[in-house]
Symmetry: none
C-alpha cells in the first residue's frame, strides 16, 4: 500500500462521503454508511481522513472545487460574451442535475447558514462568482451588456437551477396528487428549463432589451 493506494483509498472514501452526505445531509449521514459505501473499515476512514466533520469539509471543498474547475474550463473554450454566459449557465445546470451531488449538499448548507462550510469551500465558490463577474464586466466593457449586479445574477442562476433540479421528486409527487384547479399539463423537461433560464438571464443583461432591470 504505497502513496498511490493511500490516495485511492482516500478518494474512494471521499466519493462515498459525497454520495451519502448528498443523500442524507451532515446530520443524517452515518459514518458507518460512508465506510460501507467505500468498502473500507470505519477505523480506516478515521485514519485516512479524520472525523466526520473533517471528512465533510474535505468532501464539500472538493465537490465545489470540481464544479468551479469545470465551469472555468468550459467557459474558457467559448468565444463571445453572451456565449460565455450561456456556457456558464449550462455547465452549472449540468452540475446541479439530478444525479449531481452538489445541489443537495449546497442547499442544505445554505439552509444551515453555512454552519459546516469551511473557508476553503467558500473560496471555491468565490472562484465561480468571480468568473461570472469577469464575464459580465467584459461584456459591459464591450458595450454588449448593461451594468448589472453580478451577485444577484449569480443567485438567480444557481438558485433557479438548483431549485428546479432537486425539486424533481416533489414535482413527481405533486403530479399524482390531483388537486382541484391544479393543472399538471405543463410539466416540462430540464433542458427546457435551462433554456428558459438562459434566455431570461441573457435578456436581463443585454443592453438593448429594454429597461425591465435596473
Amino acid at each position: 500500500m504505497t502513496r498511490d493506494n493511500r490516495n485511492s483509498t482516500a478518494k474512494g472514501i471521499l466519493d462515498a462521503a459525497s454520495k451519502v452526505f448528498a443523500e442524507k445531509g451532515f446530520e443524517g449521514a452515518r459514518v458507518d454508511e460512508i465506510a460501507a459505501t467505500a468498502r473500507v473499515n470505519k477505523a480506516t476512514l478515521y485514519y485516512q481522513l479524520g472525523d466526520k466533520r473533517a471528512l465533510y469539509e474535505l468532501m464539500i471543498t472538493q465537490v465545489i472545487g470540481q464544479m468551479a474547475d469545470e465551469v472555468i474550463k468550459q467557459t474558457a473554450v467559448v468565444n463571445g460574451h453572451s456565449e460565455k454566459l450561456q456556457q456558464f449557465i449550462e455547465t452549472i445546470a449540468q452540475h446541479t442535475g439530478i444525479a449531481s451531488r452538489f445541489a443537495p449538499i449546497m442547499m442544505r448548507e445554505i439552509a444551515d447558514g453555512g454552519r459546516n462550510l469551511p473557508d476553503q469551500a467558500l473560496q471555491q465558490m468565490g472562484r465561480v462568482l468571480s468568473l461570472l463577474q469577469s464575464i459580465l464586466e467584459q461584456g459591459c466593457q464591450a458595450g454588449e451588456f448593461r451594468q448589472v449586479n453580478p451577485l444577484i445574477t449569480h443567485m438567480l442562476i444557481i438558485g433557479s437551477l438548483m431549485f428546479y433540479n432537486t425539486n424533481e421528486p416533489i414535482r413527481a409527487r405533486m403530479t399524482h396528487l390531483k388537486q382541484e384547479g391544479l393543472d399538471n399539463r405543463h410539466f416540462i423537461s430540464t433542458d427546457e428549463v435551462v433554456d428558459h433560464i438562459v434566455d431570461l438571464v441573457i435578456a436581463s443583461v443585454r443592453k438593448n432589451d429594454g429597461e425591465q432591470t435596473k
Copy 2:
C-alpha cells in the same frame, strides 16, 4: 387546563418545533431542544402531538399552509394582473425572509427529495401554485400576459427568493473573505433583490416586451 390550554400547549410546541427544525433540520433537531424551547416536558410533547416525525409533519404542513393562506389573502385585495403578480412575489418574499422558518425547512425538504413531506403539506404547496396559475391564466385571457409555464415561473420566483434570503450568512462570510478578483462592492439589500425579481418575472410574462422568452 381547559380546552384553551390544550390548544395553547400544542401551539407552543408547534411554534418551538418550527423554530428548531428551521435551524437544525429534521435530523439535527433534538426533541429535547424543542420541548425546552416550548417550555414543556418532553413527555407532554409526545402526549400532545406524537413522535418526532408526526411533530415534523404537523409543523411543516402548518408552516406551508400559513404561507399559502397569506399569499391568497394578500393577492385577493389587489386589482390588476401585473399588480397581483407583483403582490404574489412580494408576499412570498416576506415569507422567505431571514426571520422566516419556511425557507430553510423547504430547502432541506427539497434537498431530501421530500422524504419527510406529507401529502397534506404538498396540498398546501399546491394551493400556492394553483393561485399563480390562475393569475397567469387571467392575465393571459385579458391579453396582458403571454402564455407561460406556471410551474417554471413558480420555481423561478420561489427558488430565487428562498435562495437569496437564506443565503445571507454565507454572503456575509464571503464579504470578509477578501479574494483576488472578487468584487464585494455589489452587495445589496433584500428589497432591491425582490424588486429585481419582480421586474424580471413581470417582464418575462408581459406580452409586448420582446421575444426573449418562449
Copy 3:
C-alpha cells in the same frame, strides 16, 4: 355514583386488570391498557384502587380467592373420598383452562419466586391446599387412601394441569414444526389429559394399588 357504582367501577377495573396481567404479566402490563380495557380514565383507576402494585395484589388475591371458593364449593356437594378428590382435580382443571386467567398469572408468579404475591393471596392458596389435605386425611382415616404427602400431590395436580393448559399455543406451533423423528399423531384433548391426571393421582393415593409410591 353511589357505593354501588364505586363497586362496579372497581370491579370493572379488577376484571380488566386480571385480563391484561394474565396476558402480559406484571412488568409487561401497561396501566394505560388496563384503564382502556376497563373503559375508565387512568386517574380513576388510581383513585379507586391505587398504584400498579396495589392493583396487582388486589387482582391476584381475588383471582386465587375465587378459585378457592369454587373448589371448596364444588367438592362440598360430592360424597365419597375418591369422588371428592376427582371433583377437586376437575374443578382446578376448569380454572386452569385456556380462557382462565389464573394459570398464566400463577405461573409467572412462581417463576418470579412470588415476588409480587401478597400474603393474602398466599392465604387463599392455603385454603385450597388445606382442603386437599383434609380430603386426603379423611380418605386415609376411612382406610381408603394411603398416607401421602399432600403438598407433593397438590403440586402434581396444579403443576400438570396448569402446564398442560397454558401450553396449548406452543404445542400448536410444534405441530406445524415438522421435525424428524417427532410424532405428532398423539395430540389429545384437554379432557383426556384431565382424565389421565385424575386416574394417575387417584391410583397413586388408593391403598391397594401396589407400592409404586412411598
Copy 4:
C-alpha cells in the same frame, strides 16, 4: 481482541442474559443490568448480539439446547428402558433445579403463549420430546411398557418438576404463614419429590402395573 475474545465476550453476555432473564423475565429484565452483569458496555452487547429480543432469542435457544444436549447424552449411557426413563427424568430434574435458569424462563414463556419463543428454541424442545418418544416406543416394543401418549407423559414430567422446583420460595413463605388447618409438617426435599415422580411415571408406563391409566 482475538477470535477467542470475541467468543468469550459473546458467551459472557449470553450467560449474563440467561441469569437476568431468568430472574426478571423478558419485560422485567433491563439491558443495562445484563451489560453490567456481563461487565461489558451496553453498546458492546448490541454490537455483539443485537437488540434485547435477539439477545433473548439466542439465549433461550442456547439454554434449551444445552438441556437437550445433556438429556440426550445422559440417557445414552444407561441401559434398560425403565432405567433410561428414570435417567431422563432425573436429568431434567437437575436442569429444573433451583439454581437452574431453564425453569423460570420456560414457565414465563409458556405463560406468554410462547410469544418470544423462536422456532429454533422450539426445535430444541422437540429434540427432548422425540427422545422421550423413542424411549417409550422402544420400551413398548420390548414388551416392557404399555402404549402411552408421549406428549402427556412429557408434560407430566416437565410440568411437575418445573413447578415443584421453582415453587420453593413460595412454599417457604407458606411455611411461615401459619394458617388454620394447614399442616406444615410434610415439607420435603427435592430428591424425594424427584423419586416420587420417577415412581409415578414409571408405574403409569409399566405394562403389568394394573389398569389405573389408559
